[in-house]
């Protein structure tokens, strides 16, 4: 979503993005002229007249689980977004029985919060697991 019109979205997809992604952008490119939607999410920069680089993960109930907002010159990390979605899905599927510690990635250890784990996280989770 940007403040550009759908016509500019088409031109961008036709002339540039389709050269990066075969068949063009597979998802909808939304237009937010005037930034009203961006404002409701808190990422519209009124002085510059554009949206900041905001990314929101919204769960199947319509609840915002996470977001990231960057100033324009720095791009996102798509792998990190996918990792977060997978983590939120695991928490949701387990109905909160599982939690993903710092550095968690698919296939790695999750935590099972409960009375037995209080004060014992150090036994199962090591600080170097935050970094790899």
């Amino acid at each position: 979503m940007s403040v550009d019109s759908v016509f500019v979205h088409k031109m961008w997809d036709d002339n540039e993005l389709s050269k990066m992604v075969e068949g063009g952008v597979p998802f909808a490119m939304l237009s937010d002229g005037g930034g009203r939607v961006g404002s409701s999410f808190g990422v519209y920069d009124e002085d510059a007249g554009v949206e900041n680089r905001g990314r929101f993960i919204i769960d199947p109930d319509g609840v915002v689980q996470g977001y990231e907002v960057l100033t324009p010159p720095v791009g996102r990390n798509v792998s990190e977004t996918l990792r977060q979605i997978r983590a939120f899905q695991i928490v949701r599927e387990s109905k909160g029985a599982e939690a993903t510690p710092s550095g968690w990635a698919p296939g790695k250890l999750t935590l099972k919060p409960g009375p037995e784990l209080v004060g014992k996280v150090w036994e199962v989770w090591k600080t170097d697991m935050a970094l790899d």
């Binding site: 403040v3 961008w12 490119m29 237009s31 939607v37 999410f41 510059a48 915002v64 977001y67 939120f88």
Partner: protein, 83 residues
Amino acid sequence: MAENLEVGCARPTGGPVGQAPEENDREALQTTKEEPTMIQVGKPAPDFISPAYHKGQFTSVKLSDYLGQWVVLCLYPGDFTFV
């Protein structure tokens, strides 16, 4: 004389030419200006409907039509910017 614009990722914008508004006006402007408020995690996303371009068609997208699915909503400064 026109000056060359520095090319960056934010869309260059202009503004009215003339005298700067009086201090009082500026204060009035600031009080009427809506303060951007960040939404909260764990709270419902504000619903919206937006015009959209999708696979060759002009269409529209309503966020609440996607209830029951995971949604990633990305905003960016502008088409044809670099990042």
